[in-house]
Symmetry: C2
Subunit: 136 residues, 2 copies
Amino acid sequence: MPTMTAAQRREQARRAYDAFLRSCPTHQLLDRISDKWVGLVVSALAPGPQRYSDLARRIAGVSPKMLTQTLRALERDGLVSRTVTPSVPVRVDYALTPLGASLSGLLSAVKDWAETHFDEVHAARQRYDAAHARES
Amino acid sequence: MPTMTAAQRREQARRAYDAFLRSCPTHQLLDRISDKWVGLVVSALAPGPQRYSDLARRIAGVSPKMLTQTLRALERDGLVSRTVTPSVPVRVDYALTPLGASLSGLLSAVKDWAETHFDEVHAARQRYDAAHARES
DNA sequence: CGGTATCCGTTCCGATACTG
DNA sequence: CAGTATCGGAACGGATACCG
């Protein structure tokens, strides 16, 4: 007699798998760089340090909440440095760390792939959509 | 006199920005490869073609729903091919297309970066968490 | 200036049940 | 075997208002 139901076994497998995914470096990195705003923030910082409000202006449409959240996550991972100058009013500069600059290089590779193969992907999508339009 | 309120101007900026993001090839690709299951499916298919149930077994914890959804998205983008053999019972094989194999190469680059710099990121996280633990 | 706190709609995804 | 259909909880993120 089994000590677990099928449902329990499935749930256990899922839990083990989730734990594996969380501990997988590649998956963690993918989670980080695929964040809606991370790519934009990193590319905004690539030319050089920027103040908080500079970033907010360059990345039109970002809410303060998401900008802060993104910057904190990048800072925690050692990709971005945060420097406070206690003047009045305060001035906060964000800059890419060497590690962040290295990530920026990887992002460029992704960008190259995307631009090189975008036409192929786009053509494939149109073919697929056309072929599946009949079935409604 | 302005024809829009500040709120309307902000919303318009956000809309324009969303449209830009949706049309940006890099962002589209990032969205695709960062999907929770895409990396797993592509790496499961890298060694060679697999049947639907093979994939389900190799990727423990994936529900039929997400596996199908992921495979359909990859098929639509021309990254994966789907071959139906009308035997009884039916047999369906999935394989990476040349384009998919090329993406698999890019994912390897991501994996390399992740494994090379994971220790640095991990150390940075511990430093950050330790420094911010006091403030509760 | 540089954030934080809260609310709230939307979207995602796992569980479950059923089909050709 | 290879899916599809539906539901509900959780998490994401935008708007808004407020603080040091």
